[in-house]
Symmetry: C2
DNA sequence: AATAAATCTTTACGCGCGTAAAATTTTTAT
DNA sequence: ATAAAAATTTTACGCGCGTAAAGATTTATT
């Protein structure tokens, strides 16, 4: 394939017959050079597999092509999935995404952002930890780097927020549950990591009132990001104490529901919507795993594609100079009916 | 906190009263300068929050402090978990890890490695896709960059291999299953993505022979990395055709087992080790999710900590110049007894 | 205290590329 | 064909730091 080794842009420009500044311009944006020039460069690119030194590039460019993607917990397949989606969109747009996880730790979140700074990113897609985040550090970061907040909003930080409409989520699934059986009680963490949880509780209360039903919220103890275990332990306790006033339980999120399902199993409580079942359980998020619980989990799913598309497009537009006032976009979810409720 | 802004090492060296080359030396390795010098630098570091420009550093250093961590599928919590572990160890050792996922796609795997090259990494921790990997591209990469292969080995590539002892895994759990009930049949993918699967099948066959039992392997169709769905569909088919010759099923891995459990549920087949259950199901891997299946999954778990510790230490030692011949290390797993078998 | 060894300072160059300015060439418009 | 506009080439400098070499200083050794 390739002939003699090219070690820098100087040599490549000689080999391609195009001056170095023009070659540099080409690598910055291939569309910025005349078509005949572009063709000559690309022909040379096929002969020699030269690629500009990324460190030298980034050192001098005012604006790099780096994009940071930061999620609270990469071990959660929900975030892994959305991160994958965002990553692809950035690459396709000619950027270099780098993936970071706060691993559920607010201090680490700050560390990650601090490290990100040194990459001089053109922009950052950030899903904050939420309640536990060090708000001031996030705010300072957002001032310095164009940052789009997704998944869970922290006030009006960054250039915009893109996420799901938690009110619609909970209203919609509460409505479904009310129409198909006993009205649900609401199963949640007392001190949730994520502000979306509060919206969901409120939406549940609103919906129940609108339907003329008596709401019941079961708030369980537990700290951190081990939601399944928290749901399992809380579920055991709630079941043992017969805290559920109805046979239908709407969980604040799918991971909590997964833990609750395990607790139900361990207590011999049969879950499902058939007559032989004792209770119905539903989740919220459309977690990648929700299809494979036993019973498969009825849930309301994020529109992964739409959220990540909107998030990536908004950030990249802002990077390209499109200034617009801070805006919050919340997309609707889709009900996924399965055997659990 | 910080006083006047420092914008480069020149200014910082002036502020700290230490010459720039010595400061440079300090940032390369703080231990390489006299203690009194180190203290003066670190005192200045507290006053001014200067950090060397990472691009300028990497441009000139023969060896960067970058380490790549590449996994086949980050959306799989098993890999997310081990990646997190490796990441931490690299950071603690003073390196800058960057996380990559091939997202189950061999072409992407090559792209990732190609991109990694431009980061001039001091070393790479690579869990290859396996069977589908473009072997030649991996081999070429391993020649150019110190690469430690983990999780699943591809011949004798890289500086070493660290993973789990699949023979021990399967022998051990097969032994357990034989001692506690009917001997198991083996549930696997016909064309597994991962070479470990072949070892496990072979170990199953060996173990069954050693125990004097008739082995039975059920190889199901399915391509790609959607193991749960493959296991579910294959499970449905095997159940419908009554292919299982015994009431005990050992799955090649936990994700397959999770899918099989879902199939069992959907067919009304009760899983567990109590008398009222129709079959027992066991997995292999100690997948983070295996605790929360219904019933919770009996499995044999990787020693996550030991594997990542050994992997990171081996790579970092090699980076530090410790040359040693290629070596394969396979660590034993621990049986985790739960309700499913 | 004298010598050797280790460390630091000074000086200087190079890495690979971005980018600015002026001169030149090519393309487009009139 | 000619002028104007657009693109390219030439020339030159700078980015922030690594690193080498020679000399000066500090520390360790006897």
């Amino acid at each position: 394939m390739s002939e003699a080794k090219i070690k820098n842009m100087e040599e490549f420009s000689a080999a391609s017959g195009i001056s170095r500044p023009t070659v540099s311009k080409y690598f910055h944006d291939p569309e910025s050079v005349r078509q005949s020039t572009r063709e000559r460069i690309e022909k040379a690119l096929e002969r020699y597999d030269y690629r500009p030194n990324i460190f030298a590039m980034n050192q001098n460019r005012k604006l790099t092509k780096n994009v940071g993607i930061v999620v609270p917990l990469l071990a959660d397949p929900y975030f892994a999935e959305i991160a994958r989606n965002l990553e692809r969109r950035c690459i396709d747009a000619g950027y270099r995404p780098t993936l970071f996880s706060a691993h559920g730790d607010p201090d680490l979140e700050v560390d990650v952002l601090e490290n990100l700074r040194s990459l001089k990113p053109a922009g950052v897609l950030l899903a904050p930890l939420g309640r536990a985040s060090h708000r001031d550090a996030l705010a300072k970061f957002c001032e310095d780097v164009p940052t789009l907040i997704f998944d869970s909003s922290v006030e009006e930080l960054g250039i915009a927020f893109v996420g799901s409409d938690n009110f619609q989520f909970t209203s919609h699934i509460t409505d479904y549950l009310c129409r198909t059986g006993e009205p649900p009680c609401f199963f949640e963490m007392k001190t949730p990591a994520n502000p979306n949880a509060h919206r969901r509780r409120q939406a549940y209360l609103n919906a129940m009132e609108a339907f003329g039903h008596q709401p019941q919220v079961i708030s369980i103890e537990g700290e951190g990001w081990g939601f399944e275990e928290i749901g399992r332990l809380g579920g055991h306790e709630a079941l043992a104490n017969k805290e559920f006033s109805t046979n239908t339980i709407l969980c604040s999120n799918d991971r909590l529901a997964i833990g609750l399902l395990t607790a139900c199993y361990e207590q011999g409580v049969k879950v499902g919507r058939t007559p032989d079942c004792a209770i119905r359980v539903a989740g919220q998020d459309g977690h990648p795993h929700s299809r494979y619980t036993c019973p498969p989990l009825t849930t309301i799913s994020h529109d992964y594609d739409a959220v990540s598309k909107h998030a990536a497009e908004t950030l990249l537009a802002a990077i390209d100079g499109q200034v617009s006032p801070w805006k919050s976009t919340r997309l609707e979810g889709k009900l996924i009916l399965r055997a659990s409720a």
